[in-house]
């Protein structure tokens, strides 16, 4: 029987947590569809520690963190299909999938949770000039080769981009016997967490060159070297600052993009900043009964926040199914959450005080490094939250909490504005 209450697309951290929370909320038929050969998603190749400090109050490796949720999936007898690719989803929540054993077939769902994660930006998106030899990997591809397959991509490594995967891979490649020459970052600040710069670069004397980029790639068959140059305020290379690095490997850690090809096919309204769906307080997209959480929604820096977000999503999807698919309100009839100025976006963009849980976490990122300023939240014209932050950086997700009881005091509220203020 190919009918389920909730079908979850993706068995990574978001999909697992959503499945567990939906099942715990009382949903009988939950199905996880996973394209890889194992549950766990990208966590399986994240064999470093640092996961779970928020969720489990202890430090786990990626596979250990995933296993905690996989165990719950097994205990709760949640169904899943591995090596199964979703080809299409319709607005009516018919999911077309393919795998070796069952072929191409349709699954009908009452609710769908999108949890496909993200992919890495490739070299092409950066227009890095030069040859196109072997030896250029996105950091995640290299991470898979090293951590899952056991193969060393190369021995003399340069890394472009200081995203977390790039930083982690700088340390990993060093530990596996490669020499990491340099990490170059186009922006004047790192794209990764500060703790990763300390633990992955500083501890191994790997130089981080901010405001630098690769302006040429040498080597026709296997990469032989790169030219780095300093860039100006506009990101343009400055003449005379070129330095050549010999290397047989270039890793790229230059950003992650939510994988929303399926979402686009359903006609979900997308956010041009996050490249993920626009969602409300229940993590429901603009297509009724289709929810989204995790990196497919917006790219996270900590998996703990993915799990937290996915748990809410699982509960919301469960409530949607349990309420007999009766939507309490219409998406467009809700309060709008608006990001202003250096607040680049917010999740969610709409909220309904009646449907939200007691506390709603609004997550966002800032567009530049900001020191000693305030996060302010306005309910229409009235400032209701004013919290000082010593430092905010684009690579670390910020959040503020809204309480249901407070919102109930503003029955005619139309806009919630989130912005950064100097005082």
């Amino acid at each position: 029987m190919n009918n389920y209450d909730i079908v979850i697309i993706g068995g990574g951290p978001a999909g697992l947590a959503a499945a567990v929370s939906a099942k715990n909320r009382g949903i009988e038929r939950v199905l996880i569809l996973e394209r890889e050969r194992e549950l766990g998603g990208i966590l399986n190749q994240c064999i470093h520690n640092g996961f779970g400090l928020h969720t489990f109050k202890e430090e786990l490796t990626g596979p250990e963190y995933a296993q905690r949720f996989i165990n719950q999936v097994h205990e709760l007898k949640i169904e899943y299909k591995l090596s199964t690719m979703v080809m299409n989803i319709t607005r009516e929540k018919k999911v077309t999938v393919i795998n070796r054993e069952e072929g191409l077939f349709e699954i009908e769902a009452k609710a769908v949770i999108l949890a496909m994660g993200c992919r890495e930006r490739a070299r092409g998106a950066l227009n890095i000039p030069g040859y196109r030899p072997a030896g250029i990997f996105s950091a995640g591809t290299a991470q898979r080769l090293v951590n899952i397959e056991g193969y060393l991509p190369g021995r003399e490594v340069a890394i472009l981009g200081s995203g977390d995967i790039g930083l982690i891979m700088a340390r990993r490649m060093t530990l596996e016997g490669a020499s990491v020459k340099v990490v170059a970052e186009l922006m004047p600040y790192s794209g990764g967490l500060n703790r990763n710069i300390v633990q992955c670069l500083d501890d191994y004397d790997i130089p981080l060159k901010l405001s630098h980029t690769v302006i040429d790639i040498k080597g026709r068959e296997r990469i032989e070297g790169i030219i780095l140059a300093k860039v100006d305020n506009l990101g343009k290379p400055i003449r005379g600052t070129e330095e050549e690095y010999a290397c047989d490997t270039l890793l790229l850690s230059v950003g992650l993009i939510p994988e929303n090809e399926l979402s686009g096919g359903i006609g979900i309204d997308m956010n041009s900043i996050t490249l993920g769906p626009n969602v409300n307080e229940s993590f429901e997209t603009t297509v009724e009964g289709v929810f989204a959480c995790g990196n497919v929604l917006h790219v996270h820096d900590l998996v703990d926040f993915v799990s937290e977000e996915a748990m809410v999503t699982g509960r919301s999807a469960a409530d949607y199914v349990l309420s007999g698919l009766q939507k309490p309100t219409v998406f467009n009839n809700n309060i709008e959450v608006i990001a202003v100025g250096e607040v680049r976006y917010t999740i969610p963009v709409k909220l309904n005080a009646n449907r939200m849980e007691d506390i709603l976490t609004v997550r966002f990122r800032v567009g530049k490094v900001i020191k000693n300023q305030f996060i302010s939240v306005y309910f229409d014209e009235k400032r209701v939250i004013h919290q000082k932050r010593l430092i905010m950086v684009p690579s670390e997700m910020e959040n503020i909490k809204l309480s249901k009881s407070k919102l109930k005091e503003y029955p005619k509220l139309k806009h919630i504005i989130v912005k950064i203020e100097e005082e």
Binding site: M85, I98, L104, N127, E221
Partner: protein, 479 residues
């Protein structure tokens, strides 16, 4: 001793090989790279030109117009994509109208059918994203688009099936004229042959000059390209060319591809390095600046890759397709720059005709004119697809998630005649790794399949042969 040795397995060499395989001749193709389609044939605009560009009466014009006419039937015989989508040559300035009319008239003289001058209203109806500045355009309904790899691979596979040998990683180092025929010294030893066909692309001058006193010179002309994601693929429905003008020089073209992407390019920079396929920041900047002149609102954020290709530009800007005057039995296909792809069926036929007469060749009674491409499960109904997966479960296993390519297709690409041996070989045959993530997810999976099917070590798997190895050892093997 061969009857015919063809140097180069690009689109010209493969077309000659396929046409020669209609006759009974012992033929071999020598290719310095590990696969077919590794030089000029792999990185170009993928356009089948109408034929109005080349000077009237030139070999280039003849081959282009004839090749264009032959392309449809060839695409049906050899099962490669060809879409006659038409092209517009955009004129943005009234003062350039005489130049546009000159090209129109040249097209008529060259025998190009269906040419029409369009006014701005008609242009806007046909292509709403063409610039509002367009005052007129030359519409060429016979222009089309193809997949150059598919075309090149199809020709080579068909030639192979009809008995032509292919030797890869075989670089020609020297050629000596014997009393009868030639002795070719290569990186894989000596080959003797009665006739030589020089289809060596940017190296055709080097090969020609090994034998002939009458020297030729070919300049590699580099062109940078940007390829955009499929989400931008419908931005234009036809090939949009720019009319060269005094202010901007030669413009860049914008074209849909047969796979639904959008392609922008090329630049034109003359270089000396025959392997100089590196892109440059100047080139890519030029593309971004010029592309916007003729087409509005180009979503340049959607670029998924950029690449550069070389055109083999002979000093007289003309195809040389003839027996060398001072070397009997040595037949040149030199200077095959654009419109070489468009011309390849005609070039193949012309060279085969020369060889047929010279060698007094008899027809090959077993010649098979058709060839089937790699089975594409996307073209099947759900029912047919399930039958296929039932027979071979590998067709239910998606390996490249961006292009939705199955393990079954990858295995087919490896096992078929002249099958793929490298990641690029797989990519060009199946499109695995050619999508928006550019192989980020599928590279390790494709490597696994190559290792299994070819009984190769993971350490010997390459991106494109030679020293382009992907992994260099085991973790900690040096610690």
């Amino acid at each position: 001793m061969y009857d015919i040795i063809i140097i180069g397995a690009g689109v010209t060499g493969a077309a000659v090989a396929r046409e020669v395989s209609r006759y009974q001749a012992k033929t071999c193709v020598l290719e310095k790279e590990e696969d077919v389609c590794c030089g000029a044939s792999k990185a170009n605009s993928a356009i089948i030109h109408a034929g109005y560009d080349a000077a009237s009466g030139s070999m280039m014009a003849k081959m282009n117009v004839l090749g264009n006419q032959m392309m449809h039937q060839l695409s049906e015989e050899l099962d490669f994509p060809f879409v006659r989508c038409g092209s517009l040559l955009i004129c943005r300035r009234k003062e350039d109208m005489p130049a546009l009319l000159d090209i129109y008239e040249r097209g008529i003289r060259n025998g190009v059918g269906g040419l029409r001058i369009l006014e701005s209203r008609e242009i806007a109806e046909m292509e709403p994203n063409v610039t509002d500045d367009a005052v007129a355009a030359l519409y060429a309904p016979t222009a089309g688009i193809t997949c150059p790899y598919s075309l090149n691979i199809a020709l080579a596979e068909n030639a192979y099936t009809n008995g032509v040998e292919f030797k890869f990683n075989t670089e020609v180092l020297n050629i000596r004229k014997l009393n009868i025929g030639y002795e070719i010294e290569s990186s894989q030893g000596i080959f003797k042959t009665s006739y030589v066909v020089n289809a060596a692309g940017v190296y055709a001058d080097k090969v020609h000059n090994m034998v002939c006193e009458h020297k030729i010179h070919i300049t590699p002309r580099r062109g940078d390209y940007c390829l955009l994601d499929k989400s931008a693929g419908n931005h234009v429905g036809r090939i949009i060319f720019a009319l060269p003008n005094a202010e901007h020089g030669k413009g860049v073209l914008i074209t849909p591809t047969v796979h639904g992407n959008l392609l922008i390019g090329p630049t034109a920079v003359d270089i000396e390095n025959k392997e100089g396929v590196n892109t440059t920041s100047e080139g890519i900047d030029e593309l971004i600046n010029k592309a916007g002149l003729n087409v509005k609102n180009l979503p340049m954020r959607q670029v998924i890759t950029s690449f550069a290709g070389l055109r083999a530009r002979e000093d007289n800007h003309e195809f040389i397709i003839e027996e060398a005057i001072d070397a009997r039995g040595f037949i040149d296909c030199a200077g095959i720059e654009s419109p070489g792809l468009s011309s390849c069926p005609a070039i193949g036929e012309k060279v085969a005709d020369i060889l047929k007469v010279k060698l007094k060749l008899n027809e090959n009674p077993d010649f098979i004119r058709t060839r089937k491409k790699i089975l594409n499960p996307k073209m099947l109904s759900s029912e047919e697809r399930n039958q296929l997966i039932n027979r071979d479960p590998a067709y239910g296993n998606i390996i490249c998630r961006c292009e939705m390519i199955t393990e079954g297709e990858i295995v087919d690409a490896i096992r078929r005649p002249l099958g793929a041996k490298s990641l690029d070989g797989i990519k060009r045959r199946t499109r695995a790794g050619m999508g928006r993530c550019q192989g980020g997810f599928c590279t390790p999976r494709v490597m696994e399949i190559i290792a299994r099917e070819c009984k190769m070590s993971m350490f010997d798997i390459t991106k494109s042969g030679g020293s382009s190895k992907i992994v260099s050892g085991f973790n900690k093997d040096s610690v």
